[in-house]
């Protein structure tokens, strides 16, 4: 790793000052940042360690009031949270399925949202890809088996790596983003930036801004949620396809569904097609299967990832079933 200075602010207010130095980047759990530095992708002169700020680590509230989560909360803490065991369980499931037990003990929710692409061309310093300022997306005509099947015609075909974002989008979560001067709130689904909008960033954070809180809205009546991912390995792995669903379930009748897909596009995305196929339906295995098919109608797979379309159909079907307490294999 290159040498860097290390700022250790104790309070959120001190973070902004430490970030004023040019070439500084924020480190929370450090899993992504240290990887980027070791791979020679990032060369910060200063790391601003926000992991020592206790006021960024909390899970407050309940299903009635809504839940507020500090960005410094670890994935392991989310996975075992009582508050997230009911209507919000998709978030606990997503956090608990990310990476390995060791990584989940270090990695934070804020870091999970802000991590940089995991595309193997991006992570290899020998490939000067579009996202790094080059002119070629090496995955388009290269090894693209894990890449995007949506929004993949704009010069970068990576899939966004944040698993927690998929669950947060399904739950309708919001973020508070703060800088030294101001703060703003934004839906998680609006936080991410597609290559069509801007090739060189994955989210809307400006230099000097950090996520200071994640908000889950109060759970609607009879709200259920579920997260599921398909991997190549049984133990830890990146997803081939991941889906989070939330809906109000009156008996088996579904209302106000939200369906979010990860490992599908350069941003964690909502599937409006899936949602309209599910809304006001009595959920059955057949309905769940048709939701999967609808969600994939507009997919535009690349040369090596047509298989993902079929996997997504199955994963969406299963996730909708499990959210509704139906055995998809019955």
């Amino acid at each position: 790793m290159n040498s860097f200075e290390y700022a250790m602010p104790k309070r959120t207010a001190d973070v902004f000052r430490a970030l004023e130095s040019s070439d500084s980047i924020i480190k929370a759990g450090g899993i992504d940042v240290l990887d980027l530095i070791k791979e020679g992708i990032a060369h910060p002169q200063r790391l601003v360690n926000i992991n020592s700020i206790d006021e960024l680590k909390y899970i407050e509230g309940n299903q009635t009031t809504g839940v507020k989560i500090g960005p410094g909360t670890t994935l392991a803490e989310l996975a075992s949270s009582e508050v997230l065991s009911g209507s919000y369980r998709a978030l606990a499931q997503a956090a608990g399925s990310t990476a390995t037990p060791q990584i989940r003990n270090s990695a934070t929710l804020g870091g999970s949202l802000c991590q940089r692409p995991r595309c193997w061309y991006f992570r290899n310093k020998d490939y000067h890809c579009t996202r790094k300022g080059g002119f070629t997306c090496f995955a388009v005509n290269g090894e693209n088996e894990n890449h995007a099947i949506f929004e993949n015609d704009f010069g970068c075909v990576m899939v966004h790596p944040s698993t927690t974002a998929v669950a947060l989008i399904a739950l309708g979560a919001k973020l508070t983003i703060a800088s030294a001067k101001s703060s703003r709130e934004i839906l998680v689904e609006d936080f991410f930036v597609t290559p069509r909008e801007n090739m060189h960033r994955e989210n809307i954070l400006e230099q000097g801004e950090i996520i200071t809180a994640i908000h889950l809205p109060p759970a609607a009546k009879n709200m259920v949620s579920y997260y599921y991912k398909q991997k190549a390995k049984q133990s830890f792995d990146w997803p081939i396809a991941e889906v989070a669903v939330s809906m109000q379930l009156d008996g088996k009748k579904c209302q106000n569904p939200r369906v979010a897909l990860g490992a599908a596009a350069p941003v964690p995305m909502r599937s409006k097609e899936a949602e309209s196929a599910l809304n006001n339906q009595e959920v059955t295995i057949d309905i769940a299967a048709s939701v999967g098919k609808e969600a994939m109608k507009k997919a535009t797979p690349l040369s090596q990832n047509k298989y993902k379309v079929h996997i997504f159909q199955a994963v969406i079907k299963r996730t909708v079933c499990w959210a509704s307490d139906i055995d998809p294999f019955a």
Partner: protein, 207 residues
């Protein structure tokens, strides 16, 4: 486009801010022991440790070590190269294989993806801390009895993940054991023996 404009405006204001603010120095100590080379960032308590690092106190297996570490030193590097505790292995150096697993303040972490400086003052447990002289820890004994290792390179990390599980859950189920070592890669494929070893230890503990 608008974002880019905003960014460059911010760059300018940041530069002029720094120019105006200058660099002051304070003597605040961040880590648990005396500081070397601490300089203050700008105005007050946002302390910055220089690239050369500071002297910190590390508690490894109950023993205290004073060591100067640059911020970029990982915990794995500190243990192996500075403290000569080479039981902790480094394989992928990217948090993917678990060979470097140690326990910090009761939580298993990849020491290759943990900065040493962040572990200062915390309770660090490594494979060296398990045996009591020639007397093996029950978990180590069970690994031997169940042939839970072949080449042995993943073993220190594997044992630490298992110890971390048993520390929090003395009577784990088989799925819990499987999950606990899901971040430890064993290319020899000794997992079934590892599971037996852990179940054996938990059975003993239950008696």
């Amino acid at each position: 486009m608008e974002e880019k404009k905003n960014l460059s405006q911010k760059e300018i204001s940041r530069r002029s801010f720094l120019k105006g603010a200058g660099i002051a120095s304070v003597g605040a100590v961040i880590a648990t022991t005396a500081s070397v080379d601490i300089k203050a960032d700008t105005k007050n308590d946002s302390d910055v440790i220089g690239k050369n690092g500071i002297s910190c106190e590390f508690d490894v297996n109950g023993k205290k070590y004073a060591q100067k570490v640059p911020p970029r030193t990982t915990l794995a590097e500190l243990l192996r190269e500075d403290l000569n505790l080479t039981g902790t292995k480094v394989v992928c150096d990217r948090g993917a294989c678990g060979a470097c697993t140690v326990i910090v303040d009761g939580k298993s972490v990849c020491s290759c993806m943990t900065l040493a400086i962040d572990s200062a003052g915390k309770k660090i447990e490594t494979i060296e801390g398990l045996a009591n002289g020639d007397e093996l820890h029950p978990l180590q004994e069970a690994f031997v009895n169940h042939d839970a290792l072949q080449c042995g390179f993943c073993t220190p990390g594997m044992v630490m993940s298992c110890k971390n599980l048993l520390d929090h859950n003395a009577q784990p189920t088989l799925p819990e054991v499987r999950k606990a070592v899901s971040g430890n890669l064993c290319r020899c494929g000794t997992y079934p023996h590892v599971f037996k070893a852990v179940m054996d230890v938990s059975g003993k503990k239950g008696e």
